[in-house]
């Protein structure tokens, strides 16, 4: 192969807004082929959004994009592909067709876009081309195998193969290693390094795992709150430098946590392992009145931990004790009966019933308290309680009969929390409770959690927002790769330290 030609991409003052949020403001980014460029930032910093702009997923951004010095207009994925810009998203399953073969999936774009007027598919040609692409990546994979029989790592390889099946100058990988094991990650690195350093492809590598960025990337761009903080060669940077660049000042730093007397051990988890290993050998304790944080990056297993404790994911081993009494949690139904409550992360999908009224939502977990003879619902009592909760939590709704779909995100979340206030649990598990709510609602949710702690409840607060963990917890566990890697006293730690452990520090 001859020396590959040098290509460049320059993005200039890119801005994009979504309803209520300015996701990117005046972002500049320069990329060149033949290297691996790390793109990092805390959650919500705008990394993925910026790469989606470059790959044509949005058409309502402002700013200019130049490829090899020439201004181009990228408004659709097809525009980007024509310029040789390909992206592989983290959710590989959404981009693959499970019951078609490896060859068909690799050559999908070709089959869709380059058939012209031809009506018949030349299968031997398709398989031969797919085979050539796989050879170029040096991957041993049967082109006849069906996607549904492959492992996650193999599926990712198929997507990379699809990306380079057509002319590729730039390849964007959005958190490709999050779901991979160590050996799978090494295999991916081998492929990506070969593509960049030997075949002259420009690779953009989004990841939360700092050690791996230092292993393979030569350039780095750090983003924070929709802007670029720095863009420079990797040389001379340490992991601590990157962590500091990623962090910014936020409202949580001024939040005064309500002081609560912490009592005896209320809840214990010992050696909990999820059936498929998404959570491995987790032990933790919660004392009465204590807010215990579970910190970790997206994909660290926080949600899985919350769900496994709550019985929503099956446990392989481990035990849980409430006030020293062993719990038998085989389903959420059993969990609720034994005094656990979970406010799940995916509010609209899991937390509230959007098509039902506020009152139905609020009493969904405790309807037994509102039934009389023959399980008839005592509607008066139900409504009265709902009104009280609406007033207590300051839920903005015209009436308790309003459909939850019409409430704002923050108010929906208050309903999701209010449901468990009525159910009167002992342990409250919050999984990213402030996701997608505004600052005002965030403060109210914090206050509410503080009140629960003051009542002597035990709180587990899982979040990837480190500033929140620092603002309201008493003690925090840090998760990485499904395990608890560190226990920290909140008063004695810093965002840097938590982030250090969350990114796989040792």
């Amino acid at each position: 192969m001859s020396q590959p030609q040098l290509h460049t991409v320059a993005m200039e003052s890119i801005s994009i807004e979504f309803p209520g949020v300015k996701a990117l403001s005046d972002v500049d980014l320069n990329l060149r082929s033949g290297t691996i460029h790390a793109l990092v930032g805390a959650n919500g910093a705008g990394k993925s959004t910026l790469m989606k702009v470059l790959s044509g997923a949005y058409n309502h951004y402002t700013g200019r994009i130049f490829v090899n010095g020439q201004e181009v207009d990228i408004r659709t994925p097809r525009d980007a592909k024509k310029l040789g810009i390909q992206i592989v998203y983290q959710e590989v399953d959404t981009a693959l067709i499970p019951h078609l073969s490896v060859a068909e999936n690799i050559m999908l774009d070709v089959l869709v876009n380059s058939m012209g007027r031809r009506q018949f598919v030349n299968w031997s040609e398709i398989h031969a081309s797919a085979e050539r692409v796989l050879q170029r990546l040096n991957i041993d994979l049967d082109t006849d195998a069906l996607i549904q029989d492959l492992s996650l790592a193999q599926k990712q390889m198929v997507l990379i193969a699809r990306a380079i099946a057509e002319e590729t100058r730039f390849l964007i990988l959005d958190e490709p290693t999050a779901p991979l094991s160590n050996t799978e990650t090494e295999e991916l690195f081998r492929v990506v390094e070969d593509l960049a350093y030997n075949q002259g492809v420009g690779v953009v590598f989004i990841s939360h795992r700092l050690p791996e960025l230092f292993a393979i990337c030569r350039e780095i761009t750090v983003m924070r709150d929709g802007t670029v903080v720095t863009s420079r060669p990797m040389n001379g940077l340490t992991a601590n430098d990157v962590v500091e660049l990623m962090l910014g000042r936020k409202f949580e730093e001024n939040y005064a946590k309500r002081p609560v007397e912490i009592g005896d051990t209320l809840f214990e988890v010992k050696g909990l392992t999820e059936l498929n290993g998404a959570v491995t050998d987790v032990s933790l304790t919660v004392r009465s009145g204590e807010i215990v944080g579970v910190a970790g990056l997206v994909g660290a297993g926080k949600t899985e931990l919350c769900k496994t404790i709550f019985g929503a994911l099956p446990a392989r081993s481990g035990q849980m004790l409430l006030r020293g009494k062993r719990l038998n949690v085989t389903s959420p139904h059993a969990a609720v009966k034994q005094g656990l409550a979970l406010v799940p992360e995916e509010r609209r999908k899991e937390g509230v019933l959007v098509e039902e009224s506020v009152v139905t939502n609020l009493t969904a977990a405790s309807l037994d308290n509102f039934t009389g003879a023959l399980h008839f619902i005592r509607k008066q009592a139900e409504r009265a309680t709902a009104r009280k909760v609406i007033a207590d939590l300051k839920v903005k709704t015209p009436s308790e009969e309003q459909k939850v779909a019409y409430l704002s995100g923050g108010n929906q979340q208050k309903v999701a929390v209010g449901k468990w206030l009525i159910a009167d649990a002992d342990i409250y598990i919050f999984d990213e409770p402030t996701k997608g709510v505004d600052v005002g609602a965030k403060r109210e949710i914090f206050d509410l959690i503080g009140q629960l702690a003051a009542m002597g409840k035990g709180i587990i607060y899982a979040s990837c927002e480190l500033s929140e963990i620092l603002a309201i917890t008493d003690r925090t566990y840090v998760m990485y790769d499904g395990r608890i890697v560190k226990e920290l006293r909140t008063a004695e730690t810093t965002e840097q330290e938590i982030l250090y452990w969350s990114t796989g520090g040792k």
Binding site: F310, P332, H333, G351, A364, A365, H375, F376, Y406
Partner: protein, 330 residues
């Protein structure tokens, strides 16, 4: 936010459309009544109205069962077959074994629960989609009913297929069930009881919650699978009751007698969705849906539309009901 500002501006067209989706069923019934009374003088007589109610009572009872399966976001296609099976069982108990009314009815209802158990197991445990499971059991139990009867019909005094003479009789108390006013009263009681059950009890509330968002329901601690099973048990029981009413009305067990009830039942349940702006399966809406289908059928017969063309009209009504339900969802 966007949708909200649009509704506050509510152009006249949207308001009219909204009114029609809410009250379209009732409106259509009224219009049909007016139209048929003008077209045929004998239409709007007490005896004919009773005929209509009698003719829809079996459909309504089965359709209310379908409605319950719809509340959990399921779909029971096996109701027609269950009706056939219950019909064959209850008549055979009388004619072949000489049982009396109550034990025969109780046994037929109990046997139909086998279908419910199989449906629920395959749907809840094996996780096959509802539609496909009940399609399979529909065929299986059609075959079971035919095999049980020996591929023929059963009626009083008729020897069994192997030539054994039969001596049992169908009690008059049982035949009463198939006559007005009893058959109509049974229908109205079923509609009222299910309406109260769905709207005023804990279990009804849970059925809707499970159907609205299974995962959210599960994470609220509701035993989701138990309620999905309950829905299939109830739909099966009501289908069997429909089959028993059919047996009482015909006084015999015919081959695939219940099959014809599936389509109008599904139509009635879907028409019922939008009645009074409920936007979800409900018993009273289903009853009105059945009335609509019944009035249409009766009126068309009076206008001498041949029976073999009737399915065109019934199918079109179902399509229209579905269009109303799904168009609104957009």
């Amino acid at each position: 936010m966007l949708a909200k500002t649009e509704t506050t501006r509510a152009p006249l067209g949207a308001q009219v459309l909204n009114f029609i989706t809410k009250w379209g069923t009732v409106l259509t019934i009224v219009l049909l009544l007016v139209f048929f009374s003008i077209a045929s003088p004998s239409f709007l007589t007490v005896s004919n109205l009773i005929t209509i109610l009698r003719s829809i009572s079996i459909v309504t009872v089965i359709a209310v069962g379908v409605t319950i399966s719809l509340t959990v976001d399921g779909f029971d296609l096996s109701v027609g077959t269950v009706a056939t099976l219950a019909d064959a069982l209850v008549i055979s108990f009388f004619v072949w074994y000489g049982w009396s009314t109550l034990p025969a009815i109780a046994a037929a209802l109990l046997f139909s629960l086998v279908v419910a158990a199989i449906n629920a197991t395959l749907i809840v445990k094996v996780r096959i989609p509802d539609l496909l499971v009940t399609l399979a059991t529909m065929f299986i139990f059609e075959g079971v009913a035919l095999t049980y009867t020996g591929g023929g019909s059963i009626s009083q005094g008729m020897p069994r297929l192997d030539g054994t003479p039969t001596f049992g009789t169908i009690p008059n108390s049982f035949k009463m069930i198939g006559q007005a006013p009893w058959i109509i009263i049974i229908m109205l009681v079923v509609v009222a009881v299910v309406h109260i059950f769905l709207n005023y009890t804990k279990h009804g509330r849970y059925l809707y919650v499970v159907g609205g968002n299974r995962e959210a329901a599960r994470l609220s601690g509701i035993p989701v699978n138990r309620y999905r099973t309950l829905a299939y048990i109830l739909s099966c029981l009501l289908a069997a009751l429909g089959g028993i009413m059919l047996a009482a009305r015909l006084g015999s067990a015919q081959i695939n007698a219940g099959a014809g009830y599936l389509m109008p039942s599904v139509a009635a349940a879907f028409i019922g969705f939008s009645v009074a702006g409920q936007g979800r399966p409900n018993a009273i809406g289903t009853f009105l849906g059945a009335v609509l289908v019944g009035v249409l059928e009766n009126g068309l017969v009076m206008l001498s539309v041949p029976y073999y063309s009737m399915n065109i009209v019934k199918g079109a009504v179902l399509a229209l009901a579905l269009a109303m339900t799904y168009f609104r969802k957009k």
